[in-house]
Amino acid sequence: MITTATIWTVIVILGVGTFLIRFSFLGLIGGRDLPEWVLRHLRYTAVAVLPGLVAPLVIWPQATGGQPDLARAIAAVATVAVGWWTRSVLGAMIAGAAVLYGVMALGAFA
């Protein structure tokens, strides 16, 4: 049993702490110019964080208890391939979902 005091303590401190993490650079640096070498690193933030964030979810899906899953792996490859060739985010999402459900349906009937 979690005590009421613990729950509210965690909610408030985690909320404030998370806000401060998010506000850090936007808040402190604001409109000041950043040096070129910093900007050069920041240009790669999205491709540096997001692929690492999802890679474990693709290789060790939670839904299968962490066991690699063929349908999910193929769907991930299809999503990246279509997104890369067409440059269409929506097209890549649709392709990924179609492949995921397609392979899962094949697996269910096989």
């Binding site: 998370t18 998010r22 964030l53 999802v54």
Partner: protein, 237 residues
């Protein structure tokens, strides 16, 4: 700044954020369910989602509290999960740093994986946008994502059932983010950074407190920056 351009920026954000409904819906429902099972009442579940508004860290904190972990460890671990958001904050600073402080505070509160991915993609595509247009774009991307997070947390807490597993909605997360990432891989430095990110995050998956991802991300940013320098030097040589 005319009314129509801020409005169209907002609408563009709304459209870009819409697919992430599929990511947010199952996770917020599930959070409501898990929070109720852990003994939280509806107000506590809702406030958890409103005050913290960071899915992965909410699940982490809840699980640790259920395991009777000391509060200090709960907080340290859940905050470590959110440290990547400092990188998002830094990455958006060149685009939104000139906005008034209340706007930057609002953006910070709503800075989640989905809204960040939308914003950075669109800002790079529309470099001519004003800071005000970027702000309204961001609010547009927030609209289909964050309110849904609050509402479905309550729905999950009330009905006590998550999405059926055969829908495989767990995989909406990788598909949505991979679809955003793939078109970003337009240069060799971007490709190199993404490869380092994937490889190191898998190799460092054992590192506690989600710090493996942070190390992987820093190494990937350095890879991208260094590769860009090399390519420039080769082009001028």
């Amino acid at each position: 700044m005319t009314q129509t351009t801020t409005k169209s920026a907002y609408m563009t954000g709304l459209r870009d954020g819409l697919p992430f409904l599929l990511v947010i819906a199952p996770f917020s429902l599930l959070f409501g369910v898990v929070a109720t099972e852990a003994g939280l009442n509806i107000l506590q579940s809702l406030m958890f989602s409103v005050v913290v508004i960071a899915g992965a860290s909410q699940f982490t904190a809840l699980q640790l509290m259920v395991d009777q972990t000391p509060t200090f460890i709960v907080l340290a671990t859940a905050l470590a999960v959110n440290l990547r958001m400092a990188m998002y904050s830094a990455s958006l600073t060149p685009w939104l740093g000139a906005a008034p402080v209340w706007q930057r505070a609002l953006i910070s509160y709503f800075l989640v994986d989905a809204t960040y991915a939308c914003a950075i993609t669109r800002f790079e595509k529309e470099p001519q946008w004003t800071v005000n247009q970027r702000f309204f774009y961001f609010l547009g991307a927030v609209t289909p994502v964050c309110p849904v997070w609050y509402v479905l947390t309550v729905v999950g807490a009330l009905i006590g059932t998550a999405m059926p597993t055969w829908l495989a909605l767990d995989f909406a997360v990788p598909i949505c983010f991979l679809a955003m990432i793939a078109p970003m891989l337009r240069t060799i430095p971007h490709l190199a950074a993404a490869l380092v990110s994937v490889t190191l995050s898998l190799v460092l998956a054992f590192v506690p407190f989600s710090l493996g991802l942070l190390i992987a991300a820093l190494a990937a940013m350095m890879t991208g920056a260094q590769a860009e320098l090399w390519m420039k030097q080769r082009a001028t040589a």
